[in-house]
Protein backbone atom coordinates (compact mmCIF):
# COMPACT_ATOMS: atom_id res chain seq x y z
CA UNK A 1 0.00 0.00 0.00
CA UNK A 2 1.44 3.39 -0.95
CA UNK A 3 0.29 6.52 0.89
CA UNK A 4 0.80 10.16 0.08
CA UNK A 5 3.57 11.68 2.18
CA UNK A 6 3.64 15.18 3.56
CA UNK A 7 6.42 16.14 1.18
CA UNK A 8 4.40 14.98 -1.81
CA UNK A 9 6.35 11.75 -2.13
CA UNK A 10 4.68 8.43 -1.72
CA UNK A 11 6.17 5.97 0.69
CA UNK A 12 5.76 2.26 0.75
CA UNK A 13 4.69 0.82 4.10
CA UNK A 14 8.20 0.02 5.32
CA UNK A 15 9.42 3.49 4.58
CA UNK A 16 6.26 5.03 5.95
CA UNK A 17 6.72 3.29 9.31
CA UNK A 18 10.35 4.37 9.36
CA UNK A 19 9.31 7.95 8.66
CA UNK A 20 6.80 7.97 11.53
CA UNK A 21 9.22 6.36 13.99
CA UNK A 22 11.93 8.85 13.08
CA UNK A 23 9.77 11.62 14.58
CA UNK A 24 10.09 10.11 18.07
CA UNK A 25 13.72 11.22 18.22
CA UNK A 26 15.38 14.58 18.76
CA UNK A 27 18.84 15.82 17.80
CA UNK A 28 21.35 14.43 20.27
CA UNK A 29 19.36 11.29 21.10
CA UNK A 30 21.16 7.97 20.73
CA UNK A 31 19.14 5.25 19.03
CA UNK A 32 19.71 1.62 18.10
CA UNK A 33 18.04 0.42 14.93
CA UNK A 34 17.45 -3.31 14.48
CA UNK A 35 18.60 -5.25 11.45
CA UNK A 36 16.21 -5.11 8.49
CA UNK A 37 13.35 -2.65 8.13
CA UNK A 38 14.19 -0.60 11.27
CA UNK A 39 17.45 0.46 9.60
CA UNK A 40 15.30 2.57 7.25
CA UNK A 41 14.48 4.85 10.18
CA UNK A 42 17.95 6.38 9.74
CA UNK A 43 16.88 7.79 6.36
CA UNK A 44 14.15 9.89 7.97
CA UNK A 45 15.65 10.96 11.29
CA UNK A 46 17.12 14.34 12.01
CA UNK A 47 20.75 13.93 10.95
CA UNK A 48 21.84 14.87 14.48
CA UNK A 49 20.25 11.79 16.02
CA UNK A 50 23.11 9.41 16.81
CA UNK A 51 22.80 5.87 15.49
CA UNK A 52 24.21 3.07 17.65
CA UNK A 53 25.22 -0.30 16.34
CA UNK A 54 25.68 -2.85 19.10
CA UNK A 55 28.86 -4.25 17.56
CA UNK A 56 30.74 -1.15 18.59
CA UNK A 57 29.90 2.24 17.11
CA UNK A 58 27.78 5.21 18.06
CA UNK A 59 27.64 7.63 15.17
CA UNK A 60 26.92 5.33 12.25
CA UNK A 61 26.69 7.45 9.11
CA UNK A 62 25.86 6.70 5.51
CA UNK A 63 25.92 3.13 4.32
CA UNK A 64 28.45 2.19 1.72
CA UNK A 65 29.24 -1.05 -0.06
CA UNK A 66 32.21 -3.27 -0.57
CA UNK A 67 32.32 -2.22 -4.22
CA UNK A 68 32.18 1.54 -3.64
CA UNK A 69 35.25 2.80 -5.51
CA UNK A 70 35.68 5.76 -3.14
CA UNK A 71 36.64 3.60 -0.18
CA UNK A 72 39.65 1.38 0.30
CA UNK A 73 39.30 -2.17 -0.95
CA UNK A 74 38.61 -4.22 2.14
CA UNK A 75 40.10 -3.43 5.52
CA UNK A 76 38.31 -0.19 6.24
CA UNK A 77 35.07 -1.86 5.29
CA UNK A 78 35.72 -4.69 7.69
CA UNK A 79 36.43 -2.08 10.35
CA UNK A 80 33.09 -0.31 9.94
CA UNK A 81 30.17 -2.66 9.45
CA UNK A 82 26.85 -2.49 11.25
CA UNK A 83 25.18 -5.37 13.06
CA UNK A 84 23.65 -6.52 9.78
CA UNK A 85 27.09 -6.63 8.14
CA UNK A 86 26.52 -3.50 6.02
CA UNK A 87 29.62 -1.28 5.71
CA UNK A 88 29.16 2.36 6.72
CA UNK A 89 31.01 5.62 7.11
CA UNK A 90 31.26 6.86 10.71
CA UNK A 91 30.13 10.47 11.24
CA UNK A 92 32.69 13.07 12.40
CA UNK A 93 33.25 12.53 16.14
CA UNK A 94 31.83 8.98 16.03
CA UNK A 95 32.56 6.74 18.98
CA UNK A 96 33.92 3.21 18.65
CA UNK A 97 34.21 0.79 21.57
CA UNK A 98 34.34 -2.84 22.58
CA UNK A 99 31.31 -5.03 23.24
CA UNK A 100 31.35 -4.62 27.02
CA UNK A 101 31.17 -0.84 26.63
CA UNK A 102 28.52 -1.13 23.93
CA UNK A 103 26.24 -3.04 26.27
CA UNK A 104 27.11 -0.71 29.14
CA UNK A 105 25.60 2.02 26.95
CA UNK A 106 22.50 -0.15 26.38
CA UNK A 107 21.88 -1.52 29.89
CA UNK A 108 23.18 1.66 31.51
CA UNK A 109 20.26 3.59 29.99
CA UNK A 110 22.19 5.86 27.63
CA UNK A 111 20.03 5.01 24.60
CA UNK A 112 16.91 7.11 24.13
CA UNK A 113 15.34 4.32 22.14
CA UNK A 114 15.60 1.09 20.22
CA UNK A 115 13.58 0.03 17.19
CA UNK A 116 12.92 -3.67 16.75
CA UNK A 117 10.96 -5.91 14.43
CA UNK A 118 8.38 -8.40 15.75
CA UNK A 119 6.80 -11.78 15.14
CA UNK A 120 4.22 -11.17 17.90
CA UNK A 121 3.35 -8.33 20.29
CA UNK A 122 1.13 -8.88 23.33
CA UNK A 123 -1.37 -6.44 24.79
CA UNK A 124 0.76 -6.16 27.94
CA UNK A 125 3.95 -5.13 26.16
CA UNK A 126 5.63 -8.49 25.58
CA UNK A 127 7.64 -9.02 22.42
CA UNK A 128 8.52 -12.22 20.50
CA UNK A 129 10.98 -11.59 17.70
CA UNK A 130 13.85 -14.07 17.82
CA UNK A 131 12.56 -17.62 17.63
CA UNK A 132 10.12 -19.17 15.26
CA UNK A 133 9.94 -22.87 14.47
CA UNK A 134 12.13 -23.33 11.42
CA UNK A 135 13.64 -19.87 11.83
CA UNK A 136 16.06 -20.08 14.71
CA UNK A 137 18.68 -17.37 14.71
CA UNK A 138 19.15 -16.52 18.39
CA UNK A 139 18.24 -13.37 20.26
CA UNK A 140 21.52 -11.58 19.52
CA UNK A 141 21.31 -8.27 21.32
CA UNK A 142 17.51 -7.92 21.23
CA UNK A 143 16.86 -8.93 24.84
CA UNK A 144 19.45 -6.38 26.02
CA UNK A 145 18.11 -3.64 23.75
CA UNK A 146 14.67 -4.01 25.33
CA UNK A 147 16.16 -2.28 28.38
CA UNK A 148 16.31 1.06 26.51
CA UNK A 149 14.09 3.96 27.62
CA UNK A 150 11.85 3.69 24.54
CA UNK A 151 11.38 0.24 23.04
CA UNK A 152 9.58 0.73 19.76
CA UNK A 153 8.29 -2.12 17.65
CA UNK A 154 8.14 -1.52 13.92
CA UNK A 155 5.94 -4.17 12.31
CA UNK A 156 3.32 -4.76 9.71
CA UNK A 157 -0.06 -4.79 11.37
CA UNK A 158 -0.77 -8.34 10.19
CA UNK A 159 1.20 -11.34 9.00
CA UNK A 160 1.45 -12.09 5.29
CA UNK A 161 -1.54 -14.41 5.76
CA UNK A 162 -3.57 -11.56 7.29
CA UNK A 163 -3.49 -12.68 10.94
CA UNK A 164 -3.07 -9.93 13.53
CA UNK A 165 0.41 -9.50 15.05
CA UNK A 166 -0.89 -7.59 18.08
CA UNK A 167 -2.42 -10.41 20.11
CA UNK A 168 -3.60 -11.17 23.64
CA UNK A 169 -0.59 -13.26 24.58
CA UNK A 170 2.53 -14.26 22.65
CA UNK A 171 2.79 -17.91 21.69
CA UNK A 172 6.48 -17.81 20.73
CA UNK A 173 9.43 -17.51 23.15
CA UNK A 174 9.66 -13.95 24.40
CA UNK A 175 12.31 -11.34 23.78
CA UNK A 176 11.03 -9.26 26.66
CA UNK A 177 8.20 -9.29 29.15
CA UNK A 178 6.27 -6.03 29.41
CA UNK A 179 9.12 -3.73 28.34
CA UNK A 180 7.68 -2.39 25.08
CA UNK A 181 6.74 1.29 25.04
CA UNK A 182 5.43 1.80 21.46
CA UNK A 183 4.19 -0.14 18.45
CA UNK A 184 4.16 1.45 15.02
CA UNK A 185 2.47 -0.41 12.18
CA UNK A 186 1.67 0.78 8.67
CA UNK A 187 -1.82 1.59 10.00
CA UNK A 188 -1.50 2.93 13.53
CA UNK A 189 0.64 4.02 16.46
CA UNK A 190 0.12 2.45 19.89
CA UNK A 191 1.68 3.27 23.22
CA UNK A 192 1.92 1.06 26.29
CA UNK A 193 0.78 2.98 29.37
CA UNK A 194 1.03 1.06 32.64
CA UNK A 195 1.42 -2.15 30.60
CA UNK A 196 -1.86 -1.49 28.76
CA UNK A 197 -2.09 -0.94 25.01
CA UNK A 198 -3.45 2.46 23.98
CA UNK A 199 -4.21 3.52 20.39
CA UNK A 200 -2.70 6.97 19.85
CA UNK A 201 -2.73 7.57 16.09
CA UNK A 202 -4.44 6.21 13.00
CA UNK A 203 -2.67 6.74 9.72
CA UNK A 204 -4.49 8.41 6.84
CA UNK A 205 -6.33 5.85 4.73
CA UNK A 206 -7.31 3.76 7.77
CA UNK A 207 -10.08 4.08 10.33
CA UNK A 208 -10.84 2.75 13.79
CA UNK A 209 -12.91 -0.14 12.43
CA UNK A 210 -9.99 -1.32 10.32
CA UNK A 211 -7.71 -1.24 13.36
CA UNK A 212 -10.27 -3.04 15.58
CA UNK A 213 -10.88 -5.72 12.96
CA UNK A 214 -7.18 -6.43 12.52
CA UNK A 215 -6.03 -6.33 16.14
CA UNK A 216 -6.60 -9.25 18.48
CA UNK A 217 -4.98 -7.49 21.47
CA UNK A 218 -7.30 -5.55 23.74
CA UNK A 219 -6.59 -1.85 23.53
CA UNK A 220 -8.15 1.43 24.60
CA UNK A 221 -8.40 4.54 22.45
CA UNK A 222 -6.52 7.61 23.67
CA UNK A 223 -8.61 10.65 24.53
CA UNK A 224 -6.36 12.64 22.24
CA UNK A 225 -6.43 10.09 19.39
CA UNK A 226 -5.09 11.57 16.17
CA UNK A 227 -6.59 10.38 12.90
CA UNK A 228 -5.60 10.85 9.27
CA UNK A 229 -1.98 11.02 10.39
CA UNK A 230 0.49 11.48 7.57
CA UNK A 231 3.49 9.21 8.13
Amino acid sequence: MEMSHGSGQTLNDKNAMASRIARFFQPGDAVNLGIGAPLLVADYMDPDVLVHTENGCLGVGKNTSRTDPTVSPNMSLESFANAGGMPFFPIPGAMVFDHATSYAIIRGGKLKGTVLGAFEVSETGDLANWFMPGNFAGMGGAMDLCMSKMVIVQTTHCTKKGAPKLIHKCTLPLTCKGLLTHVVTERAVFEFIDHKLVLKEIREGYDLDNIKNNTEADFTVADDLKTDVVY
Binding site: N55, G56, A81, V96, A137, G140, M143, L174
Partner: protein, 224 residues
Protein backbone atom coordinates in the same frame (compact mmCIF):
# COMPACT_ATOMS: atom_id res chain seq x y z
CA UNK B 1 63.61 -5.71 27.13
CA UNK B 2 60.03 -6.87 26.88
CA UNK B 3 59.56 -10.45 25.79
CA UNK B 4 59.26 -11.08 22.08
CA UNK B 5 56.03 -13.07 21.70
CA UNK B 6 56.06 -13.46 17.93
CA UNK B 7 55.22 -17.09 17.26
CA UNK B 8 55.28 -19.32 14.23
CA UNK B 9 52.44 -21.42 12.89
CA UNK B 10 53.84 -24.55 14.52
CA UNK B 11 54.34 -22.88 17.90
CA UNK B 12 50.74 -21.74 17.83
CA UNK B 13 49.36 -25.11 16.73
CA UNK B 14 51.20 -26.74 19.64
CA UNK B 15 48.86 -24.88 22.02
CA UNK B 16 45.72 -26.52 20.63
CA UNK B 17 44.34 -29.79 22.01
CA UNK B 18 41.28 -32.01 21.72
CA UNK B 19 38.45 -30.84 23.95
CA UNK B 20 39.87 -27.36 24.44
CA UNK B 21 37.62 -24.42 25.24
CA UNK B 22 38.22 -21.90 22.46
CA UNK B 23 37.17 -18.26 22.28
CA UNK B 24 37.14 -16.59 18.87
CA UNK B 25 36.80 -12.81 18.71
CA UNK B 26 34.78 -10.91 16.16
CA UNK B 27 31.18 -10.16 15.27
CA UNK B 28 29.80 -11.63 12.04
CA UNK B 29 32.68 -11.08 9.58
CA UNK B 30 34.11 -8.05 11.43
CA UNK B 31 37.22 -8.46 13.53
CA UNK B 32 37.45 -12.26 13.24
CA UNK B 33 40.97 -13.77 13.49
CA UNK B 34 40.54 -15.71 10.27
CA UNK B 35 44.13 -16.85 9.84
CA UNK B 36 44.15 -18.29 13.36
CA UNK B 37 40.92 -20.17 12.65
CA UNK B 38 42.80 -21.65 9.68
CA UNK B 39 45.44 -22.94 12.09
CA UNK B 40 42.83 -24.60 14.31
CA UNK B 41 41.51 -26.42 11.26
CA UNK B 42 45.02 -27.34 10.16
CA UNK B 43 45.80 -28.71 13.63
CA UNK B 44 43.07 -31.31 13.33
CA UNK B 45 41.96 -30.92 16.96
CA UNK B 46 38.36 -31.92 17.70
CA UNK B 47 35.61 -31.77 20.34
CA UNK B 48 36.12 -28.03 20.68
CA UNK B 49 34.01 -26.02 23.12
CA UNK B 50 33.51 -22.86 21.10
CA UNK B 51 32.68 -19.43 22.55
CA UNK B 52 32.02 -16.64 20.06
CA UNK B 53 29.38 -14.05 19.33
CA UNK B 54 27.90 -16.01 16.45
CA UNK B 55 28.27 -19.31 14.66
CA UNK B 56 30.27 -17.56 11.98
CA UNK B 57 30.36 -17.40 8.24
CA UNK B 58 30.88 -21.01 7.07
CA UNK B 59 33.43 -20.03 4.42
CA UNK B 60 35.77 -17.51 6.00
CA UNK B 61 35.22 -17.38 9.77
CA UNK B 62 34.74 -19.71 12.74
CA UNK B 63 31.77 -21.23 10.91
CA UNK B 64 34.40 -23.38 9.21
CA UNK B 65 34.82 -25.26 12.48
CA UNK B 66 31.19 -26.41 12.23
CA UNK B 67 31.71 -27.39 8.62
CA UNK B 68 34.68 -29.49 9.70
CA UNK B 69 32.63 -31.17 12.44
CA UNK B 70 35.06 -30.31 15.24
CA UNK B 71 32.68 -28.45 17.61
CA UNK B 72 31.20 -30.38 20.55
CA UNK B 73 29.61 -27.56 22.59
CA UNK B 74 29.08 -23.87 21.96
CA UNK B 75 28.05 -20.50 23.41
CA UNK B 76 26.69 -17.95 20.92
CA UNK B 77 24.21 -15.08 20.88
CA UNK B 78 23.26 -15.57 17.25
CA UNK B 79 23.53 -18.46 14.80
CA UNK B 80 21.55 -17.13 11.84
CA UNK B 81 24.56 -16.30 9.67
CA UNK B 82 25.57 -19.91 9.29
CA UNK B 83 23.13 -21.82 7.12
CA UNK B 84 24.69 -25.18 8.04
CA UNK B 85 24.25 -24.59 11.75
CA UNK B 86 20.56 -25.44 11.95
CA UNK B 87 20.98 -28.77 10.18
CA UNK B 88 23.93 -29.81 12.32
CA UNK B 89 22.09 -28.74 15.48
CA UNK B 90 19.08 -30.86 14.50
CA UNK B 91 21.38 -33.85 14.11
CA UNK B 92 22.56 -33.34 17.69
CA UNK B 93 26.16 -32.75 16.64
CA UNK B 94 26.77 -30.37 19.54
CA UNK B 95 25.18 -28.67 22.54
CA UNK B 96 24.24 -25.02 22.08
CA UNK B 97 24.00 -22.48 24.92
CA UNK B 98 22.23 -19.56 23.32
CA UNK B 99 23.05 -16.43 25.33
CA UNK B 100 21.99 -12.79 25.01
CA UNK B 101 24.83 -10.77 23.56
CA UNK B 102 25.40 -8.34 26.41
CA UNK B 103 25.27 -11.24 28.83
CA UNK B 104 27.73 -13.30 26.82
CA UNK B 105 30.35 -10.57 26.88
CA UNK B 106 29.95 -10.03 30.65
CA UNK B 107 30.26 -13.78 31.31
CA UNK B 108 33.54 -13.72 29.38
CA UNK B 109 34.69 -10.65 31.29
CA UNK B 110 33.99 -12.43 34.59
CA UNK B 111 36.24 -15.25 33.39
CA UNK B 112 38.97 -12.70 32.77
CA UNK B 113 38.78 -10.63 35.92
CA UNK B 114 38.50 -13.45 38.44
CA UNK B 115 34.86 -12.83 39.35
CA UNK B 116 32.47 -15.61 40.30
CA UNK B 117 29.65 -14.16 38.24
CA UNK B 118 27.64 -11.05 37.61
CA UNK B 119 24.00 -10.20 38.26
CA UNK B 120 22.07 -9.21 35.13
CA UNK B 121 18.40 -9.15 34.26
CA UNK B 122 18.54 -9.45 30.49
CA UNK B 123 15.87 -11.98 29.51
CA UNK B 124 14.07 -11.83 32.86
CA UNK B 125 10.52 -13.24 32.87
CA UNK B 126 10.73 -14.40 29.28
CA UNK B 127 10.07 -18.00 30.33
CA UNK B 128 12.55 -19.07 27.65
CA UNK B 129 15.17 -21.82 27.89
CA UNK B 130 17.67 -19.02 28.44
CA UNK B 131 15.79 -18.08 31.59
CA UNK B 132 15.16 -21.61 32.78
CA UNK B 133 18.86 -22.51 32.66
CA UNK B 134 19.74 -19.74 35.13
CA UNK B 135 19.65 -19.39 38.88
CA UNK B 136 18.03 -16.23 40.21
CA UNK B 137 18.72 -14.15 43.24
CA UNK B 138 16.90 -11.25 44.85
CA UNK B 139 19.14 -8.34 45.85
CA UNK B 140 17.68 -5.15 47.35
CA UNK B 141 14.20 -6.27 46.33
CA UNK B 142 15.03 -6.87 42.68
CA UNK B 143 15.41 -10.17 40.90
CA UNK B 144 18.59 -10.92 38.94
CA UNK B 145 20.14 -13.82 37.05
CA UNK B 146 23.44 -15.14 38.37
CA UNK B 147 25.52 -15.15 35.19
CA UNK B 148 28.49 -17.45 35.70
CA UNK B 149 31.95 -16.95 34.17
CA UNK B 150 33.27 -18.30 30.89
CA UNK B 151 37.00 -18.91 30.68
CA UNK B 152 38.93 -20.46 27.81
CA UNK B 153 42.01 -22.57 27.34
CA UNK B 154 42.81 -20.60 24.21
CA UNK B 155 41.48 -17.25 22.95
CA UNK B 156 42.00 -16.20 19.34
CA UNK B 157 42.04 -12.41 19.06
CA UNK B 158 42.17 -10.07 16.07
CA UNK B 159 43.82 -6.68 16.41
CA UNK B 160 44.62 -3.89 14.02
CA UNK B 161 48.12 -3.36 15.42
CA UNK B 162 50.26 -5.40 17.77
CA UNK B 163 53.75 -4.76 19.03
CA UNK B 164 55.90 -7.81 19.56
CA UNK B 165 54.99 -7.90 23.27
CA UNK B 166 51.27 -7.96 22.48
CA UNK B 167 50.14 -4.42 23.21
CA UNK B 168 47.10 -4.08 20.95
CA UNK B 169 44.96 -1.47 19.24
CA UNK B 170 41.80 -1.98 17.24
CA UNK B 171 40.13 -0.06 14.44
CA UNK B 172 36.52 1.06 14.16
CA UNK B 173 34.15 -1.59 15.37
CA UNK B 174 36.44 -4.55 14.82
CA UNK B 175 37.27 -4.49 18.53
CA UNK B 176 33.94 -5.97 19.68
CA UNK B 177 34.68 -9.09 21.78
CA UNK B 178 38.43 -9.11 21.14
CA UNK B 179 39.66 -7.02 24.11
CA UNK B 180 37.38 -8.91 26.50
CA UNK B 181 38.33 -12.38 25.29
CA UNK B 182 42.02 -11.42 25.41
CA UNK B 183 41.68 -11.27 29.22
CA UNK B 184 39.80 -14.54 29.63
CA UNK B 185 42.06 -17.36 28.48
CA UNK B 186 45.05 -19.32 29.70
CA UNK B 187 46.65 -18.73 26.31
CA UNK B 188 45.74 -15.67 24.25
CA UNK B 189 46.93 -15.69 20.66
CA UNK B 190 46.75 -12.56 18.50
CA UNK B 191 46.45 -12.06 14.79
CA UNK B 192 47.23 -8.45 13.86
CA UNK B 193 46.91 -6.58 10.60
CA UNK B 194 50.11 -4.71 11.41
CA UNK B 195 52.95 -5.94 13.59
CA UNK B 196 55.34 -3.34 14.95
CA UNK B 197 58.05 -2.52 17.42
CA UNK B 198 57.34 -1.52 21.01
CA UNK B 199 56.72 2.22 21.46
CA UNK B 200 55.40 2.49 17.91
CA UNK B 201 51.97 2.26 19.52
CA UNK B 202 51.65 5.25 21.84
CA UNK B 203 50.92 3.78 25.29
CA UNK B 204 47.80 5.81 26.04
CA UNK B 205 46.14 4.45 22.89
CA UNK B 206 46.61 0.75 23.72
CA UNK B 207 43.30 -1.03 24.37
CA UNK B 208 44.69 -4.45 25.34
CA UNK B 209 47.82 -4.38 27.52
CA UNK B 210 50.34 -6.98 26.39
CA UNK B 211 50.29 -8.71 29.77
CA UNK B 212 47.12 -10.47 28.59
CA UNK B 213 48.75 -11.76 25.40
CA UNK B 214 50.79 -14.95 25.13
CA UNK B 215 51.56 -15.15 21.42
CA UNK B 216 51.43 -12.89 18.37
CA UNK B 217 51.12 -14.75 15.09
CA UNK B 218 54.14 -13.80 13.05
CA UNK B 219 52.53 -13.26 9.67
CA UNK B 220 54.83 -10.43 8.60
CA UNK B 221 58.53 -9.89 8.45
CA UNK B 222 59.19 -7.67 11.43
CA UNK B 223 62.14 -5.35 11.12
CA UNK B 224 63.31 -4.64 14.64
Amino acid sequence: MLKNKLASKDEIISKFFDGMTLMVGGFACTGVPRALVDLVLESGVKDIKLISNDAGDPDICQGRLYHAGVVAECWHSHVGLNPEFGELAKDGKFTLHITPQGTLVEKIRCGGIGAGGILLRTGMNTDTDMEKEREKITVNGEEWFIETPLHADVALVRARRADYFGNLTYRGNMANYNPIMAMAADCTIVEADHICDIEEIQMDTVKTPGIFVDMVYNTQKLYV
